[in-house]
Amino acid sequence: MSVDEAAAVKEKENQENNWDDYLQAYYEKPASTRTWSGYEVKEIYTPEDRASENYKEKIGDAGEYPFTRGLHRNMFRGRYWTRREVVGIGSPADTHERAAYCFKNGGTGLNTIADVTYEMGLDADHPWAQNEVGLTGVNISHIKDMETLVGDIPLDKVSWSLITASTAAAPTMAQYVAVSRNKGYDISRLRGSIQNDPIHFRYCGFRPACPLDLSVKLGSDVMEFCTREMPKWYYTTVNMYDLREQGITAPQEIAYGFGIAMCYIDELIRRGLHIDEFAPRFTFYVSCHIDIFEEIAKIRAARRMWAKLMKEKYGARDPRSMHFRFAVHTAGCSLIPQQPLNNLVRIAYEALAAVLAGVQSLHCCSYDEPMCLPTEKGHLQALRTQQILAYETGVTNVSDPFGGSYYVESLTDKMEEEALRYMEEVDGVGGMEEAIRTEWLDRRFETEAVKRQKEVDNLDKLVVGVNIFTTEEEKTTPLGVQRIPEHSAKSQIEGVRKLRMSRDKWKLNEAIKKLREAAAEGRNTIPAMIEATQAMATTGELLGTVREVFGYSYDPLNIIESPFH
C-alpha cells in the first residue's frame, strides 16, 4: 500500500474505538532505530559509508589477515560449526545419560557443565552443597564421579567440553586427565576444551572461589600444563558471554573480554612461554544477542581487533595466534517467560546471526531457560534450530555473506572504534587487573544493567510480550518442565562419604603434602593435583589445600576446616 493511500485512511478518523489499536498498528513503526547497544542507525547506507576503506588492509578475504571475514577461506564448506548442547543435571550418571542423548541426536560436541557447588569448589557433602547438588549442572567431587560421567564414551573419538570456569577448573582438568590415564588414553591426543576463566567468574557470583591472584595462578597453571602436555586441547575460553549477560553493550563485551584475556596472556609470558606457543589454543565465548546486524558487526570487529592485538602488541608471527576462535551462546538474557514459544523465534535469529558471523561452535539456549533447566524437548529443539540453519537455509554456502554490505561494514567499524575507546578507558584506571581489584568494573556493570532495565521500562527498547503485545501469562510450560531426580543428590552425597571412609589415608596425606609443596614453591599445581586425585582426594581438598597456601580459608565459605592439620 502506498503512502498516499495511508494518508487517505488517516484523513478519515475512526468512529469506533476498538479500531484505534488497529490504526495504531497500521501506522506502527520501529519504536527505536538504534542498535541494541544504543547506536543511532542511519536510514540508508551507501558506498560513502565505506569510502575511506582499503579492502585488503581493513577487511581482507576470509582466511587472511586481519581475518575480518573469517578465519578460513572455505568456512563451513570445510566443516560445519560444532553443534553443541550444554548438559549437566543431577548426578554424574544422570548427566552421562543426557549427554549420550544429545550425542545420539546429532550433537557433534559433548558439553558438560558444573553446578554451583562444583564451581564453588565444594564437595557434594559440604553442609552448604547438600541443598543444591546437581541443581544447575553436575558436581564432580572425586575421581569416581568423573569415571561415572565419562562412562563408555570413547575419549579419543569425541571432543569434550568441560564447562568449569572457576578455580575449580584446575581440579576438573586433573580429574579428567586422571581418568583418561587410568583408562589408558594418551592425553596428548585428547581433543576438547575446558572453560577455565576464573577471573571473569567472580562476576557470576563465585567471588569466594575466585580471588584475583588465585584465579590468575590456577587459570594459568591449567593453560601452561595443557600447552606442554595436551597440544590438541583448548585450555581456556575467555567468557565474554557471561560479561555481556551482565547487561553491557556489544563493544563493551569485546573490550572487557579482551582485557581479561590479556591478564592470562601476560602471566603466561611472565612464565616464559612465547606467544606463538600458546596463543593458537586460545578461544573465546561470545554472546549473540537479538540485534542481528550489530552482533555480526561485533564479531567481525572482534576478529579484526584480536588479529591486530596479537600481531602488534604481542608480536605473534604464527597466523593461528592471530585467530579469534570463538563459540557463541545465544543470549539467555534476551529470553523471557512470557509467551515462551516466542523464545524459539528469538533463539533462531540469534543463532542465525552467529552463523552469518562465521561461528566455530554454537550453543543455542533452550526456549524454556527463563523458567527452568532445559527439558529434553527444549534441548532437542535448540539442536534442531542449528540443524535447520546448517542444512536448509543456504547460509552455509558463503563465508561472510554480509561482507561489503554498506551497513554491516560501517557498523563493524563503529564496533571497533567504540571497543577501542572502552579499552583505553580500562587502561586509564590502571589496566584490567586494577579495574577488577578496585571494583571499577563492578560499578560499570551495575550502571549498565540498570540502564537496560530502564530502557525496557521506558519503552526505549520493545520486547514482545513484556512491554508490547502482552497477553495473560501462561499457566503451564508448553513442552513441560525439567525436574531434578530426587535420589540423585542423595546417592552422590553418600558416594563422597563412603569414599572418605574407604580411601587410603596415608597415600592421601602424602599426595596432599606434595600438592601443598608445589603450590608453596610456585610450581605448576596440575601434576600434583592429578596425583592427589588418583589418591582419592576430593575437589574441595585439592582447592582447599592450594587456597591455604595462598592465605585463604580452606573452605571458600569458611565453614569447614581442613582435615589435613
Binding site: I44, R50, D61, N74, I163, I290, R325, N342, V395, V463
Partner: protein
Amino acid sequence: MAQDTTANTNPDPFAGIAPVKNLSGFEINPLYGPEDVKGMDFERDVGLPGEYPYVRGVYSTMYRVRPWTIRQLGSLGPPGEANKRIRQLVDMGANGISICLDMPTIMGRDSDDPLAEGEVGCCGGVAIDTIQDMRELLAGIELDKISINFVSNSQSAVILAMFCALAEERGLPWNLLTGTMQNDALKEYQAQKSYYFPPRPSMRLIMDTISFCMRNLPRFNPISISGYHLASAGATPMQELAFTLANGFTYVEEGIKSGMSVDDFAPRLSFFFKVHNDLFENVAKFRAARRIWARTMKEKFWAKNPASWRFRVHTQTSGSSLTAQQMENNIIRTTIQALSAVMAGTQSLHTNAFDEAFSVPTPHSERLALRTQQIILHESGAASTIDPLAGSYYVEALTQQMEEACEKYFQSIAEMGGVIAGIEKGYFQREIAESAFRYQRSLEKGARIVVGLNKYTEEEESPIALRELDSEFEKNKVAALKKYKEDRDQDLLRAKGEELRAVCKGRDNVMPALISAVRAGMTLGEAIGHMRDIFGVYREQAVF
C-alpha cells in the same frame, strides 16, 4: 562454556558437504569479494530506495515511517467463525487479513452442488455462496480500514461484485474501499490449476475488474500477480521470479490492448512472492524483481508515472517448506523466512503457523506466527535501516545473476509467442514439473536435507493441539443455502441471469451486471455457471 573448535569428530555423513548450489541451481562461490561486483555501478544499478530503479525498496523511507503490513490468514470454513478469527488477529496486532476460499467456491460451485459434497469449508477456506455469506464474513469490519486480501482467482469478478454490493448496503462509498483481489488467472493455468474458463475470456474478466476498480475503487488492488503458487508447484526461486514478471508484463500488454493507458492501471498492479529457506536467494530475488520491473515499465512500456515503476509485493513464508514431522521446527523455518522477506523489503507479510503443514492454525499457533513478525520489527533491529544487505558482494552478485537468468527466460517465452501461447503449449507446466522432480530427487538422494524429514527423523510426533472443523457445519450450510434460494424473487433472478449472459457475449464491462445480479441474490455458483455457458471450459493437455 561450549568452545571446541577442533575438526568435527562425530561421524556425520553430510557434515562438511554444504550444498553449493542454491535452489535456483546457481553455483555459489565459497567467498565473494569486490571483484564479483566490478561491473556494478551504484547510481545506475542500485541507487537509493524510493528512486529508480528501486532495487533498494519502492519507498524512500520504508519501515522507518511505516513497516510492512502484518497480514495473517483470517479464514475458517464457516463465515461466522472466520469473522471471529479476523477480529482476534486484529486484536493481536495484525493490520491486514487474507481470506482463502474453500474448494467448492474456488471451483465456482455452491455448497449444495453435488460436486461440493464433503469439501464445504474444508482446509481453512471460507465457503462463499451468496452475498449473505459475505455479510457474515465481514460483519462489523470496517472495509475502509482493514485491508482484506481475497485469495480468489477465476471467481474474482463475482467475489468483487459481492464486496461492492455489501459496501453499498452499508452506505460506504466504493472509493474508500481498501484491499486486494488475487485475481491472477495466468498462474492458475501454469500451476494452481483452479480454472474453468479458457485463458482469453479469463483475461477479459481480469481486464474488466481492473478497469472497473480503476474507475470506482482507486484504493483497491484488483490483482496480485502471484509467484507463490508457481513456487509451491515446484518452480525454483528464479523461475518464480521470471514467470511472475512475465505474467505481469502480459497483463500490462493486455491492459494496453483493452484500451487503457499504462499509467492508469499499472500503479494498481501488485505482486505476491514466496520466501523459501535460502534467505540470500530470497533477498536477491526481490531486489532483482524491483530492478527488472522498473526498467521494463519505463523503457519498454513507456510508463511515465513512477507509481507504475514500483514493484509492490506481498510475501508469504513457504508453506511447502514446512514439515508435519517435528512441527516445532516449522517455527524456526518461518522465523528465518520472515526475516529474509523483511531484509528484502516486502510491503506486506504473512507468516505461516507452524501447524499449518497439516491442520488449520489454532489461535495459539496463529499468535506465534504473528509474534514472529513483531519480534523482527521491534527486537531484531532488521527494520532499522533500509536494504541492509546492499553492497554485500554476495547479495549484489546474486542479484545480478538472478536478473541475467530472468532475461534468458524472457527470451524463450517471447520466442514461443508470449505467455498465453506458452500456457497453451504447456511450456510453464513442464518447466515447473521438471524443477519439482529435480527437487524431489535431491531430497531422496539426500543431496538436500530437510531436518526431520530425511535426516534426524524421530518416531514420536509433537503433542500439539490441532483444530477440528465442526462436522455439522456442511449440513447446516447446505440447508441455509437451500432456504436462501427459495426466498429469492425468481423472476428478477432470471432477468439478471439473462442480462449477465448478454454482457458476457458483448464487450461491455461485466462488473455492473454482476453486482446487480448478486444483489438480486444470485449465488456464486449460478453466476459462474452463466459465464461458463458463454465462455466455455478450458481443458489443458496433460503434461508429462
